[in-house]
């Protein structure tokens, strides 16, 4: 299948592609390297790339000075919590729309997607005031609610495009055999839908982990997830490059690894099935 190319050309293209890849990845690599330097080495000129005294003290210091683990757990709770609740609400809806479509299903899906188009600043003021009055500012519960709502359309859409690919005949056959609605969902649909649900979950955790409008505006200290915690380095602690790097590395590492695993599902998920 693959085209036949000369080995010179293959080498040239390979080198060019690797250069582009390393260039794109370099800021991340540099952050990781800097996190193992002392503060003096982090700003040394000329910068040292590999030959410095590797140290773990920045990681220890970030934890002891600012309770990093607390913010990490906030991120985990909020992103997993909002994804789980979102899935619970979305799975029945996506199932119904994929297998019992009506004339209005398409319009309904489009309308759901349109809620995602609303810029967050359009509702910042009332949400902020409502949260203040309900005592939800700077709470994990409040952020979980907001992230569930903003991600719900994407979850429904992703699940819908996956469910759509499950052949309807199988469901018909199950129904012929007398399966009820719930046993149909539990024994027939669920096993076939698990891969789609898994990739929806993965992508949504990534999106929720990195969400940086509501997390910055609705939290102060207690419930701040990593996005907001890192923002506190904007000044003047940001001048401590090694500590900033250590905090950043810990904040992005888990999600980068998850993201790499989910890259195949990423495209269709992020384009609402428009590109597969």
């Amino acid at each position: 299948m693959s085209r036949h190319v000369s080995s010179t050309r293959r080498w040239t293209v390979t080198i060019a592609a690797w250069l582009v890849g390393i260039l794109m990845f370099f800021p991340i690599l540099w952050t990781v390297l800097t996190s193992f330097k002392t503060e003096a080495e982090a700003v040394a000129s000329p910068p040292s790339f590999l030959f410095f005294n590797w140290t773990l003290e920045n990681y220890a210091e970030v934890q002891s000075r600012s309770d990093y683990v607390q913010h990490f757990l906030n991120s985990v709770t909020i992103s997993l919590g909002s994804t789980a609740i979102g899935l619970l609400i979305a799975i029945p809806a996506a199932w119904a729309m994929a297998f019992q479509p009506t004339k209005r299903t398409k319009d309904l899906l489009m309308w759901m997607l349109s809620t995602k188009m609303m810029p967050p600043v359009g509702v910042l003021v009332p949400i902020y005031l409502m949260f203040r009055d309900a005592g939800l500012l700077d709470t994990r519960l409040g952020l979980t609610i907001i992230l569930t709502l903003i991600d719900l359309p994407i979850i429904i859409w992703m699940l819908y495009t996956y469910f759509k690919e499950i052949p309807g005949e199988i469901l018909e056959a199950a129904r012929m055999d007398g399966a009820t609605l719930w046993s149909e969902i539990a024994y027939v649909l669920t096993p076939m839908a698990v891969p789609g649900i898994a990739s929806t979950l993965l992508l949504n955790v990534i999106l929720a982990w990195n969400e940086a409008f509501w997390t910055l505006n609705l939290t102060a200290a207690k419930a701040a997830p990593l996005t907001a915690f890192i923002a506190s380095y904007s000044s003047p602690e940001g001048l401590f490059y090694a500590k900033l790097s250590a905090a950043s590395t810990m904040a992005i590492a888990p999600i980068l690894i998850l993201g790499w695993f989910s890259q195949k599902q990423l495209v269709r998920g992020l384009t609402f099935g428009a590109v597969k």
């Binding site: 794109m24 800021p27 003021v125 409502m130 890192i230 904007s234 384009t271």
Partner: protein, 290 residues
């Protein structure tokens, strides 16, 4: 084939999502519209009163609004230009037979997973800082004066940071689209003597046009609301040089506590986003038909 019973059940299953999204869309948006017609400042409680379109006329005639509108469009267009052109080039490159393609893909994709506050701070401090930044070191090593990115060209600096985050997205989507191109079609063109340029213009580009449209529209939705990158790098400054509409509304609401004015600004942002959204919905709507 659906019975009356199962149709009712289906409606019941869809209901929670619809109700939640309906409330989420209508209640806050309705409140924003309502607030936008009030004089309402959190620092002066009890003085709320109906002022008609006064907030809108203040917001829309404020020089900061024009600066913000210009900056918003500059960020959207600047990032789109970099990511679409760069994305096509990267996709073409990675579509070639190369060694270690899987790893290169992962490397290119990585910035997309970096949270906005991290990428903004890493770029701000470790790359764009005029004293200790890596870019300053490169420039001094080349005998040039280091460039103070965020002080002298803040908008351009923000465009670079945001483009770095979104380039992986467009590259990955365009690569996926390119790989779905029929191999036989390419070979036929090659056999007919089409050179690389005409193969790109007449075969690949038309094939990519749909994916490019999707990339442009989806990115535009997010780029209109760039916020965290501005908050942690420049705070919209110096002056209003890097303030976009999202940041302007934020500043009015949570820094000046002007609920009425911020609400009017929020509605302006919604109208802007809707113009883009209409095009996007049409595009995606078409995919439902197939």
């Amino acid at each position: 084939m659906a019975t009356k019973n199962s149709r009712a059940a289906a409606r019941l299953l869809v209901a929670p999502s619809v109700i939640l999204l309906f409330l989420w869309m209508i209640v806050p948006l309705g409140l924003t519209i309502y607030f936008s017609f009030l004089r309402y400042n959190l620092l002066m409680p009890g003085t709320e009163e109906w002022v008609g379109v006064l907030n809108y006329s203040y917001f829309l005639t404020d020089p900061a609004f024009f600066a913000a509108l210009f900056n918003t469009l500059a960020i959207v267009l600047g990032v789109l230009l970099i990511t679409v052109v760069g994305g096509v080039l990267i996709a073409l490159l990675l579509d070639q037979p190369i060694w270690g393609q899987g790893i290169v893909r992962l490397l290119v994709l990585a910035p997309f997973f970096v949270m906005p506050t991290v990428s903004a701070l890493v770029w701000k401090n470790m790359f764009m800082n005029p004293v200790n930044g890596l870019l300053a070191w490169v420039q001094t090593s080349l005998g040039m004066a280091p460039h103070d990115w965020l002080a002298t060209t803040p908008l351009f600096a923000i465009i670079i940071i945001v483009a770095w985050q979104w380039l992986p997205f467009s590259a990955l989507i365009l690569l996926t689209a390119l790989q779905s191109l029929d191999e036989e079609q390419r070979e036929a063109a090659e056999l007919d003597g089409a050179g690389p340029v005409s193969r790109f213009v007449y075969i690949m580009l038309p094939h990519l046009s749909r994916a490019i449209t999707v990339v442009i529209l989806i990115q535009t939705i997010f780029l209109l609301s760039v916020f965290a990158e501005i908050l942690v790098t420049t705070n919209g400054g110096p002056g209003t040089e890097s303030t976009n509409i999202a940041y302007l509304v934020y500043a009015q609401a949570l820094l000046q506590f002007d609920v009425g004015g911020a609400s009017a600004g929020g509605i302006v942002a919604v109208v802007l986003a809707n113009i883009v959204a209409i095009f996007l919905m049409r595009m995606i709507g078409r995919t439902l038909e197939t």
